[in-house]
Amino acid sequence: MKTWIRTWIKTAVFIPLLLVLGGCWDRTELNDLALITALAFDKVENNQVRATVQFVLPQNQSGGGTTGGGAMGGGAARRTSVRSETGFDITDALSKLQRVIPREMFWGQCRIYIFSESVARTGIREHLDFLIRFPETRERAYMFVSKGEAASALELFPPIENSSAEVLRKLSDLRIGIRVTMHQLSLMLSGDSRTAILPMIYILPKTESAGPFQTIPYLLGSAVFKNDKMVGQISERVTKGVLWLRNEVKGYTVVFKPEGSEGLMSLKPVKANVKLIPKIEGETWKMTVRVRTEGDIIQNGTIMDPMNPQLLAVISKGFKDDVRKRIESALYEVQRRHKTDVFNFAQTFQRKYPKQWEKMKDRWDEQFSKVEVNTEIEAKILRPGLISSPEGVPKEEVKKK
């Protein structure tokens, strides 16, 4: 009798448990969520901030790529939509945004955060605090600064990807320009030099045949931050030099003119390994930039035969000089004009000379522009590509020596 009651009690307890344990009672399914793909920060009057989110329109996702495009009246399928709202800070704006988005905002897929230039110039600290403190955002998301309004980059309907956010992510993943994740940005700003660099985005002028808003945002140059404020902008050319100094060169193209020749020589992919070696001698702080780089020839506009070791040495020297020029122009621009240590010299000094660094810490800004930089470059050309001697040049005219 007793065991009979026990069995019943157990069953009475466990059957309701089964109902709860399935997790169905508070499930959140995909059609309860608005998948946010990008968030843009813009500045409006009264020191308020405008948040613009781009979210996925689910019904247009399937089949969108090939057939859907034509069905949408010739233009690109509208696979995303944007909403924006203004608030005292970003959280305020986002909570207001939820009022105009019927589904709960889901941040796990948001990989793109864009600050407008005016927001960047007034300071991004409070926004970054939110992004890092909020548990739903991802540290691997990419950060950008937009020229002009940040929201306009999200309003576009790119012809090739599903959303402009996806375009920005793919462009960043090509590693042509600078690529900064939220985690890296926070590291840079809390590092010893308290500087940061973020890629700038512009909107590509649309082609004539494209419909309205049918274009993409793209990356060009970069924005330089001191503390948490944007202090300047550097060109694409200088950004490439900065990439060398930050040791972020991967699959790069280098075009240069070897000594004593008419045409140009192009190398791709160029790989590089860059080491910063700090040295303090008395009052002067020195930095040696040791670059080891190598590349394959992809185009030869000269009449030199790269298979000839002597000529190859000439070509290599041209390569080396070009790398030096790139680095030096970046140094000149950043060190003398912006006086902002985006190369993280501060950290290398701090790690090697902690005592001297402690004394210099507060005066680093002025000291940085005084650091003497030497370059030690070792440049190698490894392969000639598929052809050895220059194409379309008769054998007799090819320069052999």
Binding site: D26, G108, P135, R138, E139, R140, H183, S186, L187, S190, G191, D192, Q350, R351, K352, P354
Partner: protein, 365 residues
């Protein structure tokens, strides 16, 4: 003898691993980094030394008074009344620790995963599960450790996938601010290491107690290695930011991305954290129950498991008003709590006990 179950020394060593690490490895990197910054990996050495002392003390005491736990032999060593006082201290402290560990687990889960679930549900479900395990006796605890431990250890190796994102040079400059910050940072880690003293409640059930010390040391060394490993990964990833991140290992798990398909591994961390905390709370609750039963000389400890579990749940909720206070507690008070209950009292007991033994042997001789 209250506990009829039998475990092996090897099982005991395994049980100690989650006891120290489950709560330790998620928060210790931050706490030690706040004091020692980039020298946090050195704190393991000092902590290992205290771990050595703890393991030696507890096994030596068990050699002197075989088959007894600290609650029992403290009465023999110090006399009835002081012994009972120490017994009471262990009851309260073990209950308090059970509550604290559960609270820490629940804070992590509500803060990062189940935002809407009340604290009570999360804490209650874990304590209930652990209480059921404790009611099953020490063998149940030991077997669940053996079964679940791989699931607790294995995910840690996924952190190696972070290798491309790690900056090994973040370790420099070594000892920039001298040894003092390292010693300060060691205190919390030493506290965690002292939890190895909970072996005292397991040793009487061990069939081969002579191997207890060996497995204690092995467990201690693996714990130190794992703590140092996770601290270093956190340091290499977060650098100067480490001290300001509440759960650095969570960030590390979230940051893993291999070929953009192996991502968002934090669910793995949560699974691991649930398993580890279940085992840890189980051991702590078992220690609290056993100390209570032995202090008041009960015939069986099973009837009091659920009441004590409820008590520790209440302690866990009432003890701490919010996370900042909890953080302050863990940083500044807990190391000294643990240090005094799990290291200083046993050392005192050992000192008195060896004096007594010498006295009696001199009388005999």
């Amino acid at each position: 003898m209250l506990e009829k179950g039998k475990i092996s020394a090897f099982q005991m060593g395994l049980m100690m691993y989650p006891t120290v690490l489950a709560s330790g490895f998620l928060v210790l990197p931050t706490i030690t980094a706040q004091f020692a910054q980039n020298d946090l990996w050195l704190t393991g050495i000092l902590a290992a030394l205290t771990g050595l002392v703890t393991v030696y003390t507890v096994t030596r005491l068990h050699e002197l008074y075989p088959g007894q736990t600290v609650v029992q032999y403290s009465e023999q060593i110090l006399g009835k009344i002081p012994g009972k006082v120490i017994g009471l201290a262990y009851i309260t402290y073990n209950l308090h620790a059970t509550g604290g560990v559960t609270r820490q687990y629940a804070e992590f889960v509500t803060g990062n995963f189940l935002y809407k679930t009340p604290l009570l549900i999360i804490m209650g479900s874990l304590i209930l599960l652990s209480a059921i395990a404790v009611r099953g006796g020490v063998e149940t605890l030991a077997r669940s450790t053996v079964i679940f431990l791989p699931a607790f250890i294995f995910p840690v190796f996924f952190l190696l996938l972070l290798l491309p994102d790690l900056d090994v040079k973040a370790i420099f400059p070594v000892l920039n601010h001298g040894v003092t910050p390292v010693i300060k940072g060691s205190f919390s880690m030493m506290g965690w290491m002292n939890e190895l003293f909970l072996m005292t409640f397991l040793l009487p059930s061990v069939t081969d107690p002579e191997k207890g010390r060996k497995w204690g040391y092995i467990s201690m060394i693996t714990i130190t290695l794992f703590l140092t490993y996770s601290s270093l990964i956190a340091l290499f990833l977060l650098g100067p930011n480490l001290g300001s991140r509440v759960y650095p290992i969570l960030i590390a798990f979230r940051y893993v991305s291999v070929g953009s398909f192996l991502e968002n591994l934090e669910s793995l961390l949560l699974a691991m954290w649930v398993i580890g905390n279940f085992l840890q709370v189980g051991i702590f609750l078992y220690a609290a129950t056993l100390s209570f039963a032995q202090c008041f000389q009960l015939a069986d400890y099973r009837p009091i498991v659920f009441p004590l579990a409820l008590l520790s749940l209440i302690i866990g909720i009432w003890d701490v008003p919010n996370f900042p206070v909890f953080g302050l507690l863990v940083r500044s008070a807990v190391p000294f709590h643990i240090l005094s209950t799990y290291l200083l009292i046993p050392l005192l007991l050992l000192a008195v006990a060896s004096l007594r033994k010498r006295k009696t042997s001199r009388k005999e001789g």
